[in-house]
Symmetry: C2
Subunit: 769 residues, 2 copies
Amino acid sequence: MSWIVEETGFDPGRIATNGNKYMLGNGAIGYRGTLEEFEREQLTACTLAGLYDKVGDLWREPVNAPNGLSTRYYSGDEPLGLLSSAYESHGQSLNMRNATFCRETVFASLGGSRVEVRSQRFVSMKRLDLLLMKMELRVSEDGEFTVLTGIDGEVWDINGPHLEDSETVSAGGIVAVSAVTHELRRAVVVAETVRWEKAPQSEQLERKGSSIYRRATFLGKAGETYSFTKYVSVVTGDDRQTALAQAVSRTLGAAESTYEDHLCEHEAEWENKWEESDVTIEGDEAAQFALRYSLYQLHIIAPTHSEKLSIPARGLSGQVYKGAVFWDTEMFMLPFFLYSQPDVARNLVMYRVHTLEGARRKAQEYGYRGAFYAWESQETGDDACTLFNVTDVFTNRPMRTYFRDKQIHISADAAYGIWQYYEYTGDESVLLDGGAEAILECARFFYSYSYYKKEKMRYELLDVTGPDEYHERVGNNAFTNAMAKRTIGIALATLELLEAKYPEAYRELVDKLNDIDDLAALSHMHDELYVPSPDPRTGIIEQFDGYLKLEDVDLPTLKSRVLDKNEYLGGSSGLATTTQILKQADVVLMLHLLKDDYSLEAKRANWEYYEPRTEHGSSLSSCIYALVASDIGAPDWAYRYFMKTATIDLTGESKQYVGTLYIGGTHPAANGGAWMAAVLGFAGVRLHRGALVVKPALPQGWSSISLPMRVKDQRLFVTVTPTEVIVRAAAANRSSLPIRVGEEEREAEPGSELTFRYGSSERGDGLAG
Amino acid sequence: MSWIVEETGFDPGRIATNGNKYMLGNGAIGYRGTLEEFEREQLTACTLAGLYDKVGDLWREPVNAPNGLSTRYYSGDEPLGLLSSAYESHGQSLNMRNATFCRETVFASLGGSRVEVRSQRFVSMKRLDLLLMKMELRVSEDGEFTVLTGIDGEVWDINGPHLEDSETVSAGGIVAVSAVTHELRRAVVVAETVRWEKAPQSEQLERKGSSIYRRATFLGKAGETYSFTKYVSVVTGDDRQTALAQAVSRTLGAAESTYEDHLCEHEAEWENKWEESDVTIEGDEAAQFALRYSLYQLHIIAPTHSEKLSIPARGLSGQVYKGAVFWDTEMFMLPFFLYSQPDVARNLVMYRVHTLEGARRKAQEYGYRGAFYAWESQETGDDACTLFNVTDVFTNRPMRTYFRDKQIHISADAAYGIWQYYEYTGDESVLLDGGAEAILECARFFYSYSYYKKEKMRYELLDVTGPDEYHERVGNNAFTNAMAKRTIGIALATLELLEAKYPEAYRELVDKLNDIDDLAALSHMHDELYVPSPDPRTGIIEQFDGYLKLEDVDLPTLKSRVLDKNEYLGGSSGLATTTQILKQADVVLMLHLLKDDYSLEAKRANWEYYEPRTEHGSSLSSCIYALVASDIGAPDWAYRYFMKTATIDLTGESKQYVGTLYIGGTHPAANGGAWMAAVLGFAGVRLHRGALVVKPALPQGWSSISLPMRVKDQRLFVTVTPTEVIVRAAAANRSSLPIRVGEEEREAEPGSELTFRYGSSERGDGLAG
């Protein structure tokens, strides 16, 4: 039961959000949760990971492939479809366990016949180019009905059209649409074939523009089931003919197996995924469901097959945010994969290695050295972020924003991600394969960006934008400075490791980054980089220079000043810019990431200070407030924020517009944040100085939370109850791992099960106010 | 003829601009050029220099005194006045030579009688508290007429009311209005008495609110003249009773002399002023007139009597710009006074000494040391500039601006002014009286503000706003950096001078500014402060880091994007902010101030680059383009900009609004700029390394320009013709002065007359494009 997302009835107002909610995907292809008769107006999309296109001066964004699942039905001549026809019932569901989508609709045709339509589809997790759909139709009265099924070449684009020179092809039972992208002339081919269970009365091809359909007519017998299976292959490549040939052969190859066979191998993949990652909660069905759904969303967009891909901020749910990869991946999604699927985690961090040249180009463009990663990264690592990224609702003019220029913490996030991967896996190869170089280049960038304040004998980072994007171009953002310092620390540790264990690689790297003085300077900068610290009196860490002098208005008052519901609160002149209202966790995020550097009192003081001032205008915010609430012993607050982040794509209740810009889509960072809040927060499981530390803070009513995990290539299974922590180490493990709960530390030997009791005195007294 | 500003007829649409154009003043009081029957709706104002008031959260601004010249007339019961009555003729004029204003109106009364009203008034340049007006009335038919004359206590305020607890007083033929200011409870008293030439039939007092009038009725005989004189004294002070007593006694004292006697001593003062300052142009009446008018405007607002006053950006023409002193004084007005009236110049620079504590407080407020002068300075030197200084026309919200926070060049301007005074006068007392300390504090401020870029081994000035206010918060604004370097150079020269000649003062100062390391650091910073230099290829000096990467749009295109004629082009999101369009001379101003540091080629390249990109949204801009045009041999361009700056208050054609803010008033910086363009530009007269250098660039058609001047306490009279420079040194001079024209240098001995011929080859070939 808790595996099924479903609803009955049809609300046209929810088409866009349901497109996100019922999404399918396999990391290579994202297929939105629309119905098979929908078209581009309903935001139907088959989004391709890692293939981008740019038309003229418009934004560069991912390419949507022609829709190979497109299918319409007719009762006699009457078109049937939820948008236009009467229907008796409609239901749709997503089975997270095996990642299949079903719809079941009973149409009431004008001729009086009830037409039942059932379809099930999936995007194969085994064959990443493959989409399959099985359909069943039944009529209540004898009569002719028609199925129009094929490939819809009229794709939804935000800044398109991206596909040009479309050709429709038909041969040997296959139909295909072949096109090339505008910018890079990359081939995109979708091929399809159909296996009818009962042969249609007649079947003929229809071409219209870039679409191709087969029109199959049946003399329907009342009560009989007419079913068929669609096999669709999506192939991209440099050469159009090769791609077409591949698509055709893969489709034909696929059609040699039944739908059920394909489903079976697909399910096996999913079974394995869930085994490695499923977090089970006892005592809270709603939380269990929302958390599992969050993991589902992460799985369908995870690049299991390529280290040149990462995860875009809106996953594969379309072209929003240019299909670009943000810091979201490292900061909000990576931990889930680190714990459950280190191979995917490796792909994600290697993406930064493969885009290092783009980051170097960006640094150079701005006059810096080292690596300044793209704020919005696509396949080359060049920055897709535009200088005018929001439109002013009052003047309809593009608004200059500084996401691209000033959000320098992105390079710290990238380096931190690589190092996290190394720490959790112990896999040094990632460093040798380019990770070390990327880390060092990030550190060099911070040195190059910094200024020295002679009077105060310290380095500072000026003119930056922190996570709180409502305050652009500030000085000494605490988060940014702390993370830059951490990056330099990581760089120094990397050098030490290489020098000790891989002297040749060390030598090569130092020779390559030949401004040797930089590397010497890093140690000095690490000591003297200014990081704002808690005020001795109040404990407050000022978010940036001068933050506390800004207007200290409360959120309802700020909102009461809003003149247009879509007006942007940040940017050049947004309402929040001159106040202390922040968009999202900033100092508090730092307290999460660097939790060992701050006292409980400091964390509490800052959580209490910043929480009421946070607008949560970003979906990245709630999970962090949940995490730090757990840390400071406020599980009720943590629970509230956890549920907010875990249900974001279930409810569809998120900002859909900033200015005039549509920003809808899925929220993988929030999905990853839900996992973080549950595992790092409530279960409180993390690696600390080589030991697995468990510091639980379970919400009211949870009788347990359990998770499988991988640490340093050892498999563990951790269960946390309100009084106990139980750790089982897999028998196949090749070494032991120290486990610490409270003051108690024991070794988890292979095959062992350790039980720790922990006191409720660990739990805090809650928060004031 | 060329001394009289006049017009006939009456255009209600010009009341506000005529209030500026026909202004009177004496440096202590400004009296707007409105008519005596006008009230606050017509922006009548008697503005007091140096007395400020603040009400609640409104802007702090100067206080307007009750109008002691207020007078209305009645023919029988019919009120006469230009705003409401029929009139046969009207004329008004300003005599710049003796600073008197006249009006002459013939009203056509409903009863059929023509009523002639003549008045003349002046603000005494001899007795600075005194205003006088003489009136004459004549009727064409026998009949009763009434004069209502007294003190109008209903003053015009922008952010008032500033005067409280008003009392009207009458005793011994004197009427008075006494009040106190809201904030500081300073007394403001206006006393008045009238001397009737023919006694009225009846006379009685009328009080209404804070006003007091005498109503005098005459049985008018056709053709006879009825005249009277008003004596008005304006006194401020700490104590209300004392101020009242003073005002009464001064009014009575004044009334012991005739109007003509007062006029005579007033004229003597003005005669002297013109003798010391009048610049005569032969061959161009229009230029002569406009230039003289500019000098007139400067004289009426110059503080001759106090070194605690400077000149507000809108002179004494009301409360616009908070009556505050800007950099306008040092950069645009000071040179005129330096050349003509060094005592006034000394007052102006000493004002910065007296406001040093305010500048220290401001530096401290922002976390710096030294002196950060107020962007908008009032009597204490605390900054009257608000953080939200413009209102957004689209949202009607206050817009965050950074004039106050970031226009750090103000401290360079102040130090430069003090040093200019010292250089031109040789008067070291100004340094010993606090000028040296102010200079050093400005230099220390720049050190404290600076950052060191280790990679580039240089100091930088980040996050500043240069003269081009359309680009806020930029890095390394060329003007700011160059002027900061100049300030540090001045500070080092000051220390050297003191150490050599005044070792005790030197010791005292170094002890006082006890962070001795600062002073040592100054020399280092002077060597290593980055100043953007001309691009070797193009000669262009980039206005600030990244300026040349901004959109290079032309001015008409930019203007075509304007949606609201009053929208502000700068600030957070103004149209110019993301383009290369600048508000006013910035790099070009630097090329004027530091003209010896740049080649002719560099000046030409930058003038040509920046001129078409300059919006001249500030009245400070045109004169600078005129000056540098003269310098690079483009006198036609120089003339065009000179005439624009010299006629600004004659035509009234200037920006009246920025956003929703009224910014009308006089333009003393433009007035001073007109003098600079004529004397420093066309005549090309300046001091350079101890010699008076003359490098003329006369406009077409000018047969000569002549001026008296004072240099190092020696009096000279310089005449420049198209072929000759003639310098006469006063016989009373006590030393000689080297004079240089082209390559030729000769000593001007006391009483001598030197004639230099100079070649027309000196004149440039004009500009491309």
